[in-house]
């Protein structure tokens, strides 16, 4: 288990360094650290954790290494809802719009995934991709019709961790995050069942797992989580897809451990991405661009090394 130890050590050291830089880089006033940087750090770490954690769950549940949190179309629906609220002038309510979009999409996709009352994995994927395309078209249309609001739209589509919180919004976000952490914990308890389910539904059923129910619960709860992250941080690609794979390089087996390390690595990786996005150029770059630009070469190196 030396590999796992190395990974844990690296992650721990990197995490401490990144957090220190993120909060205190440039020697800001105490007010800025506590009121601006800390909330952003919390939003960023939470988003990275949720994306990577959900990614690891989906890859196992859908038996598809390309699965990521956005594959079921929830993110596009959520982004569409948030953007629609934004261009209609309800910028403060954009997270609410994102959440409504996510719930509407999840109900639609779930409905489409049913075949004669039973759940079908490939139908779920197809329904998700179709819903994603549909809402992407909707976003393009809104973008075309409301050209003066391009920044709001791009912020949502390319990821924007610089959400400005009012005090009320922040308290509300903390409540949502508490709820989300409960979901993340629940997913951890579901990890053994997921491991067994990856061996086939029949097998899982024979050892006493209510497969369709577990799937339904995971689908609904993760969709809520995705809705929350997209509402506040926009769509940030790559983290949910690659982090679980990277983790599996170091921690080869057991969803329980893969999941836990994905949470940690996802949060730290996104924090690093945001740190770079904020500081590499005079203007802040979209964090989604950075995560892909940093993560892809790293992943290629990891693959070549094997």
């Amino acid at each position: 288990m030396t590999r796992g130890r190395v990974f844990a050590l690296l992650l721990g050291v990197a995490g401490v360094l990144i957090v220190a830089f993120y909060l205190f880089g440039g020697g800001p006033d105490a007010n800025i650290v506590t009121e601006l940087r800390l909330p952003r750090l919390i939003l960023t770490v939470f988003t990275g954790m949720a994306l990577a954690g959900i990614g690891s769950v989906y890859q196992l549940m859908l038996a598809n290494p390309l699965a990521e949190p956005y594959i079921l179309g929830i993110s596009s629906g959520s982004a569409f809802g948030a953007i629609l609220f934004g261009v209609l002038g309800l910028t403060l309510l954009m997270p609410l719009g994102g959440f409504i979009g996510a719930v509407a999409t999840l109900l639609l996709v779930w409905r489409l995934a049913q075949k004669k009352g039973s759940f079908d994995r490939s139908r779920l994927l197809i329904a998700g991709v179709i819903a994603g395309m549909f809402f992407a078209a909707g976003i393009s249309l809104v973008m075309y019709l409301f050209q003066q609001d391009t920044m709001i739209i791009l912020g949502t589509l390319m990821g924007n961790l610089g959400h400005i919180f009012t005090r009320g919004e922040w308290s509300f976000f903390l409540v949502l995050m508490g709820f989300s952490l409960l979901i993340l914990a629940w997913l951890w308890f579901r990890a053994p069942a997921l491991d067994i389910m990856s061996g086939g539904d029949v097998y899982a059923g024979s050892v006493g797992i209510n497969v369709s129910r577990v799937r339904k619960e995971i689908f609904f709860l993760t969709s809520l989580l995705i809705g929350i992250t997209v509402s506040y941080a926009g769509i940030i690609g790559f983290v949910g897809l690659i982090i679980p794979h990277v983790v599996r390089f170091f921690v080869p087996s057991g969803q329980k451990r893969v999941y836990l390390w994905s949470l940690a690595a996802g949060g730290i990786f996104l924090l690093l991405g945001d740190l770079i996005a904020k500081n590499i150029a005079a203007i802040e770059l979209p964090v989604g661009v950075i995560t892909a630009a940093v993560g892809c070469p790293f992943f290629v190196w990891l693959m070549l090394r094997k």
Binding site: P28, D29, N31, I32, T34, E35, L36, R37, P39, G86, G89, T91, L92, M94, Y144, Q147, M151, I152, G155, N160, G162, H163, I164, F165, T166, R167, G168, W170, K278, A281, A282, I283, E284
Partner: protein, 283 residues
């Protein structure tokens, strides 16, 4: 070859119909037919007394109100070339940015296109003169250009040497965006006697970090991001900003954005209004 003959016959018939249709449009006599694609130029043309010359404008051209009756050829970023051609304009005024490519296309189609995009306050009188000459109102243009130049110069003289309060203009909330001094409105702020806190940015209109705003401690906030005073006051970490402590936050209802963001004859009014907000005590 009967099919071929039939085809040629049909084509001939079509040709006759098309030429007939084209010939039936009445010839404009004397008066210039002008299509204007930017609100700034439409306002200048109207102010020079040329509202009657405009046969087509874009959706955004909403001032003065008499433009409402003029045919719309699309919106700023999505203009219908066909609609413009159908109006048979003698002259098209286009802007820059998204309209750059459009201007090239229209010129290829044989239209006479003039690009007008005043980026500096000092461009304004020059642009007014240029438009005046093109639409046949040189005398009116001269008078307006002179009054603009002297008005701007007077304000500059008035604010020279004064203590400049720091101004933060917010054009977007999520993500936070402001303007640099290189933008038109940035220059308007400086000329009206304010000190724009983001004098240098990568672009004229660019993202800024909330941290930078809090650190700059602006004395005045102009908020065009559709946010409300209560919500700005409640933003985490913003409470120590002097503009918020003194409640010197101004919105669209306090200062019409068109007056300071667009280069038009009303810019002078915008400059003076902004000057009054910056120096409420008179000077």
């Amino acid at each position: 070859m009967r099919p071929a003959a039939g085809l040629i016959g049909t084509l001939l018939l079509l040709l006759i119909l098309i030429t007939g249709a084209c010939g039936s449009g009445e010839e404009a006599q004397g008066r210039k037919r002008i299509v204007v694609l930017s609100p700034e130029v439409a306002e200048i043309v109207a102010a020079l007394g040329g509202a009657g010359l405009m046969v087509g404008v874009t959706q955004e051209c909403d001032y003065p109100p008499e433009l409402a009756g003029i045919e719309k050829v699309g919106n700023f970023g999505a203009v219908s070339k066909e609609a413009i051609l159908a109006l048979k304009p003698d002259l098209v005024f286009s802007s820059a940015l998204e309209q750059e490519a459009l201007a090239t296309d229209l010129a290829k189609m044989g239209l006479s296109v003039t690009q007008i995009y005043p980026q500096k306050l000092d461009d304004l009188p020059r642009v007014v003169l240029e438009i005046g000459n093109l639409i046949g109102k040189p005398a009116e243009a001269k008078a307006m250009a002179d009054s603009l130049s002297s008005g701007i110069a007077a304000l500059r003289a008035q604010t020279a040497g004064l203590d400049r309060p720091k101004v933060y203009l917010e054009i977007y909330r999520d993500p936070l965006m402001s303007v640099s001094d290189a933008s038109f409105v940035g220059e308007v702020i400086e000329t009206a006697g304010g000190d724009n806190i983001f004098s240098e940015l990568e672009r004229d209109y660019a993202r800024v970090s909330p941290e930078a705003v809090v650190q700059a401690r602006p004395d005045i906030i102009i908020c065009y991001s559709r946010d409300s005073l209560d919500s700005i006051l409640a933003r985490k970490g913003w409470q120590d900003i002097p503009a918020l402590r003194d409640r010197r936050v101004y919105f669209e209802s306090d200062l019409d954005p068109d007056l300071i963001q667009q280069a038009t004859p009303r810019t002078l009014e915008g400059l003076r209004n902004l000057h009054r907000l910056i120096y409420p005590g008179g000077e």
